[in-house]
């Protein structure tokens, strides 16, 4: 069905293979979450639209992500611990296995602790900067770095990109704009940093 030309990963060259521990040194999205980071969030899922405020903060060794409406209504409260994921609160409308898994993956990609190895340092024709990839179950995770900063994460099958997360306009180590775009169904999350 898909021609070889449409496969964006046809031109991947493996440069080196590195064990996972060393990759923990690779920069994460947020260098410091000891102070809460607040984003204005716009979420589009199929025909639904929802906006609100997303708070990200590290508390007692876990990364906590809380999404409320502008008026203060709490949509969800997730805890990403190094080895577990805990749902502290989930509004009825989000209480669907597929939605929850998608949110867990999408939001989890922003607040991961380290990138488990082994990973491969690769080059992709047409892409600049350093690119690392690792296998996550049946899928690949690609991490694109520019000037020691993570500026893109892609989740893909062998042939197709499934989710593209971009990080733009870093100021004081904080991306001012984050965009999470799904390619296999209509879902997009846009996060704009709120200075406080």
């Amino acid at each position: 069905m898909f021609s070889c030309a449409s496969n964006p990963y046809n031109n991947v060259t493996i440069i080196s293979k590195v064990d996972g521990d060393k990759l923990a040194l690779a920069p994460l999205v947020f260098k410091d979450l000891s102070k809460g980071k607040l984003y204005k969030a716009k979420v589009e899922i199929l025909k639904n639209y929802l906006s609100g405020l997303l708070m990200i903060k590290k508390v007692k060794g876990s990364n906590r992500v809380i999404f409320t409406s502008e008026t203060g209504l709490k949509f969800f409260d997730f805890e990403f611990a190094p080895d577990t994921f805990i749902v502290h609160h989930l509004m009825e409308q989000f209480d669907n296995k597929h939605v929850l898994n998608t949110l867990r993956e999408d939001i989890g990609a922003l607040v991961h602790f380290k990138i488990d190895g082994p990973y491969e340092h690769v080059a992709i024709k047409g892409e600049e900067g350093r690119i690392n990839r690792r296998k996550d179950g049946e899928e690949w995770m690609y991490y694109y770095y520019q000037d020691e900063r993570l500026n893109k994460i892609e989740r893909s099958s062998d042939k197709k990109k499934k989710v593209i997360i971009t990080f733009e306009n870093y100021e004081e180590d904080i991306p001012q704009l984050i965009n999470i775009a799904h390619k296999d169904f209509k879902m997009n999350i846009e996060l704009n940093y709120i200075k406080r």
Partner: protein
């Protein structure tokens, strides 16, 4: 069995009272007097124009989200919340419809399709207009401090309780105006909305509550 229930109820009442008393509040002495005065103020109020400061407290992450804006109310039940800082967000509630503007995105809902939202809205309209005491949807109790009267509402509806377990409406003791509404969640989190620079019965154009 009966004793057990009485004990549990007793503990519950003691606990409620102690929560309120903890921050300088005691059970209100002249409830009927307060209700009459608050209702008289509400009856005379045809419109309210006020600045508001909203504070969302996320206790587990020890963070507060402060937002500010302009609040307009016009009898019978037209409301305009305009958040201006640190983000722009507009809600207009008029004639059973909700209009929301978020940056360039506009959305319109029929409030009848969302009972919980209707409940929250009625509570806010009734709070700011001082009519909250007569609402059958809540178990109401009355407290006072040196400066404020406080009406505490506990929703009877379980769905509503998921969003707010307790609502506290604070009235100025001299003017009987609503100065603050605090909505507590089952966790220790809460949202408080404080009204400042309040102007009552000014002429507010209907256009402020209309949308296409």
């Amino acid at each position: 069995m009966r004793n057990k229930i009485t004990l549990i109820l007793g503990l519950f009442v003691v606990q409620l009272t102690s929560i309120a008393q903890a921050d300088g509040y005691s059970v209100m002495k002249k409830v009927e007097d307060f209700k009459t005065k608050a209702k008289a103020v509400a009856d005379k109020t045809t419109s309210i124009s006020s600045d508001f400061v909203q504070k969302k407290v996320l206790s587990i992450v020890e963070e507060e989200i402060i937002s500010k804006g302009k609040f307009l109310f016009k009898k019978e039940n037209s409301i305009r919340w305009e958040y201006k800082d640190p983000f722009a967000y507009l809600i207009i509630i008029n004639d059973g419809e909700i209009f929301i503007k978020d940056d360039n995105k506009e959305n319109k809902f029929d409030m009848k399709s969302n009972n919980t939202f209707k409940g929250i809205n009625d509570m806010i309209v009734n709070s700011v207009s001082g009519n909250i005491m007569d609402d059958d949807n809540y178990t109401v109790s009355y407290f006072e401090s040196d400066s404020y009267y406080m009406v505490q509402l506990i929703p009877k509806d379980e769905k509503m309780k998921e969003y707010m377990s307790t609502i506290q409406v604070f009235f100025d003791k001299t003017t009987h105006d609503v100065v603050k509404v605090k909505m507590l969640e089952e966790s220790e989190d809460y949202t408080s909305i404080e009204f400042k620079n309040r102007v009552v019965n000014s002429d507010i154009a209907d256009e402020k509550f209309t949308f296409k």
